[in-house]
């Protein structure tokens, strides 16, 4: 009996592993292996000036500390995250509340809020490049019409980050709206109905009932938003190439430049390690901290 259970158990394990194998192989090749390779390469000097990589220990990390561009892109990533996340999540929530009602034309409104999500970032960059262009771009034509001076949105260090943030909020808000919409539809109507009968104002209901119940959704959305804030760099290729003077440069784009324009592999690996560590810390925090709170169903 025991023997049979054993062999049965073995069979289950073999089956399970065979089923997991295809996924595992690709995960191994393109997630685990690259992580380890990057880590090891970050201890080497490997660029065009030398034929074979030389082990240099922590030299790359020392260079990192001295690299002004690195600190600039880190600051930019923080600004980009702080600028886009609260705004896009907030607007997403407001949109969800607005369209979670039965009125005429609501389908269209929902569509208009959501469509930027399905457009490729690179196409969005093309559209907004034209919107931001000096003198005959859409925004500057409107400014001109209002007799206001022309603004070189992408060419000036003071406005380029704002311009990027507006564009990304426009793209992402609809995405987050969807999650909130799903969250809202899970909340039973009765609760707010009875509160309304008790004379609570809409604002009060939102603050005391709706928003707390949406907390798991908010956390989930925040995770996506943070991950995206590291991933979204496609637009830089089209719009500014990280300029002026790195004012719009982000970490992933800097990695791209270092690896594929300067062919400095060791340093690109080091930068990738920094990005990985940040993502990992966030992942661990999510798995062991946040995840408990989200697993409500």
């Amino acid at each position: 009996m025991r023997k049979k259970w054993r062999s049965n158990q073995l069979k289950v394990n073999i089956y399970a592993w065979l089923l997991l194998l295809p996924s595992f192989i690709f995960l191994f090749l393109f997630t685990y292996l690259p992580i380890f390779q990057t880590l090891s390469l970050s201890f080497y000097r490997a660029d065009l000036s030398i034929a074979e990589p030389i082990f240099t220990g922590l030299e790359n990390f020392r260079l990192l500390m001295e690299d002004k561009v690195f600190w600039k892109v880190m600051t930019n990533n923080a600004i980009f995250a702080l600028g886009t996340i609260p705004l896009s999540v907030g607007i997403g929530l407001i949109m969800a509340l607005m369209v979670n009602r039965a009125i005429r034309g609501i389908g269209w409104v929902r569509t208009f809020f959501f469509y930027p999500v399905v457009i490729p970032m690179i196409a969005i960059a093309n559209i907004w490049l034209f919107i931001y262009t000096p003198s005959y771009g859409l925004i500057n034509q409107v400014l001109g019409f209002l007799q206001l001076p022309d603004i070189n949105w992408l060419g000036s260090t003071s406005t380029v980050m704002i311009a990027m943030i507006i564009m990304v909020v426009w793209k992402e808000a609809g995405f987050f709206m969807i999650f909130y919409l799903a969250g809202l539809q899970n909340i039973s109507k009765e609760l707010s109905e009875s509160a309304k009968i008790d004379g609570a104002s809409s604002l009060m209901i939102f603050r005391k009932i709706t928003f707390p119940l949406l907390m798991p959704t908010t956390l989930f959305v925040l995770i996506i938003a943070v991950t995206n804030s590291f991933k979204l760099v496609d637009h830089l290729v089209i719009m500014t190439q990280g300029g002026p003077n790195n004012a719009s440069n982000l970490l992933l784009y800097y990695i791209y430049e270092t690896a594929f324009s300067y062919w400095d592999q060791g340093y690109a690996a080091t930068l990738t390690v920094v990005l990985l560590v940040m993502m990992l810390v966030f992942a661990v925090w999510q798995f062991f901290g946040l995840d408990r709170k989200i697993h409500y169903s």
Binding site: G155, Q241, W263, D264
Partner: protein, 462 residues
């Protein structure tokens, strides 16, 4: 490493196939499976073929030629035809032109191929990649080949400005093919309106400022409707800045690509003038001006003059709804412009007979008649002086005199900035130039910082 990885992927495909094989109905699975295996198979056959080529002695020598296209138009056909014509002239050599995208992409692809011991015989790459290619030990010097084919007389027919980026340490490594310079385009109608002579552009910096001031138009509220001049500052401002530096003295780097001269007083003065156009004289938009939108601005008459590459001649000719002129960039101590564009390089890790065959082709393409035709087809500057003596070119220039400006300017042109660790040095100077343009640094600070950064990057080579 490579072995482990390929072994793993084989296991992946095989195991997927086996898993699906026990199911009779999983149609989607098997399909996608065979799809992927097909592709792997194709790759294998590809490499097999190439190996066969290399090993078997053949009567026809085949060479691969990587080429980029950076100007508009159906140039692929022109190139294909070139290869066919060559094959007709040299039946024992077959050139396979492989379009590899932009210059950057072609470089990436070449680097990958060289690393994978699969180098092409021939490639057209930016003239500025010279030191990078040498650091990679990827290309051969052409001196012996030149010696056997006319020597000095042959090579000296190329414009010296184009050869600067092709030669270092007394050897020649590249043969100029598609080359450009920066010129000034101006709107003749706007010139007439402003009471300027529409037949000539500004000749020096003072005239540049004076003309631009006359050409700038504002509406009643002081908002600018048309700028005097636009000089692009996005992407690769170093190239434009080189023009100013050359006009005010000398080039930005040494001949061996190991030193740069960014923070000279002349360069500070030149950068100051560039900034003054926007901030002091208000004849140019402030902050960074996008390279790609400058020609559009010119065509839309949002600016009366622009600095741009000669490669834009055809575009502007086709799209401008007004008469336009082309002139030298205004000089100061002298005229000056950097060159740009690509050279032929012949690669190292290929059999000598193939190198020889590649050379035959390079020589054939560079013959004056063909250089002239290529210039007419593309808008690039013809690379040899004798090309301009051909009837073909003479007739073209007669009909469209703007096309000759770039050639005439070559007398004052010099090599494009090119050093070891090119990418990083570009970043150092570009970032700092932009910092100055947006007012974060003074010209002195910007050029001093760029100099320090570049010195640090180049230290391992000195």
């Amino acid at each position: 490493m490579k072995k482990i990885v390929s072994l793993l992927s084989i296991i992946a495909f095989v195991s997927m196939f086996m898993l699906m094989a026990c199911s009779s109905e999983s149609a989607t699975g098997t399909e996608s499976n065979s799809d992927s295996t097909d592709q792997t198979d194709n790759n294998n056959t590809d490499t097999d073929n190439q190996e066969a080529d290399a090993n078997e002695p053949e009567e026809i020598i085949e060479i691969d030629w990587y080429y980029p296209i950076a100007v508009g138009g159906p140039l692929t056909q022109v190139i294909e035809k070139m290869a066919d014509d060559f094959h007709a002239d040299f039946p024992n050599i077959k050139v396979n032109p492989i379009y590899t995208g932009s210059y950057d992409e072609t470089m990436t692809r070449t680097q990958t191929a060289v690393q994978g011991n699969n180098a092409p015989e021939l490639a057209v790459l930016l003239s500025t990649e010279l030191y990078t290619l040498l650091d990679m030990d990827a290309i051969i010097p052409l001196d012996e080949l030149i010696e056997d084919n006319g020597g000095e007389e042959f090579i000296n027919d190329f414009f010296p400005a184009f050869l600067e980026n092709a030669q270092t340490g007394g050897s020649t490594y590249g043969i100029p093919f598609q080359r450009s310079t920066i010129v000034l385009y101006y709107n003749k109608e706007a010139f007439e309106e402003a009471g300027l002579d529409p037949e000539k552009g500004p000749e020096n910096w003072d005239e540049l400022v004076a003309y631009a001031e006359k050409l700038t138009q504002t509406d009643g509220n002081g908002n600018v409707e048309r700028w005097g001049v636009e000089i692009p500052t996005s992407g690769f401002p170093y190239w434009l800045f080189q023009g100013f530096a050359l006009q005010n003295g000398k080039n930005l780097m040494s001949d061996d690509g190991k030193e740069v001269y960014f923070d000279t007083p002349e360069n500070v003065e030149a950068l100051q003038l560039w900034l003054d156009l926007a901030h002091e004289y208000n004849v140019m938009p402030q902050d960074v001006i996008d390279w790609a939108t400058v020609p559009s601005d010119f065509i839309e008459e949002k600016t009366a003059m622009i600095y741009h590459t000669t490669g834009n001649l055809t575009n502007i000719r086709n799209n401008a709804g007004f008469e336009f002129g082309v002139s030298f960039m205004p000089g100061n101590k002298q005229y000056g412009s950097p060159t740009g564009g690509g050279n032929f390089y012949i690669f190292k890790d290929v059999p000598e007979e193939k190198q020889q065959a590649a050379w035959e082709f390079v020589k054939w393409v560079s013959e004056p008649e063909r250089a002239a035709q290529w210039s007419i087809d593309t808008g690039y500057v013809a690379v040899r002086e004798s090309a301009y003596e051909t009837e073909l070119m003479a007739a073209y220039v007669e009909d469209f005199p703007q096309a000759a400006v770039a050639r005439d300017q070559l007398e004052f042109a010099s090599a494009e900035l090119s050093t070891h660790q090119n990418g990083r040095v570009y970043k150092a100077i570009n970032d700092n130039l932009q910092a100055a343009v947006v007012g974060q640094k003074t010209p002195e600070e910007a050029l001093k910082d760029a100099q320090e950064e570049a010195d640090r990057i180049l230290a391992p080579f000195n």
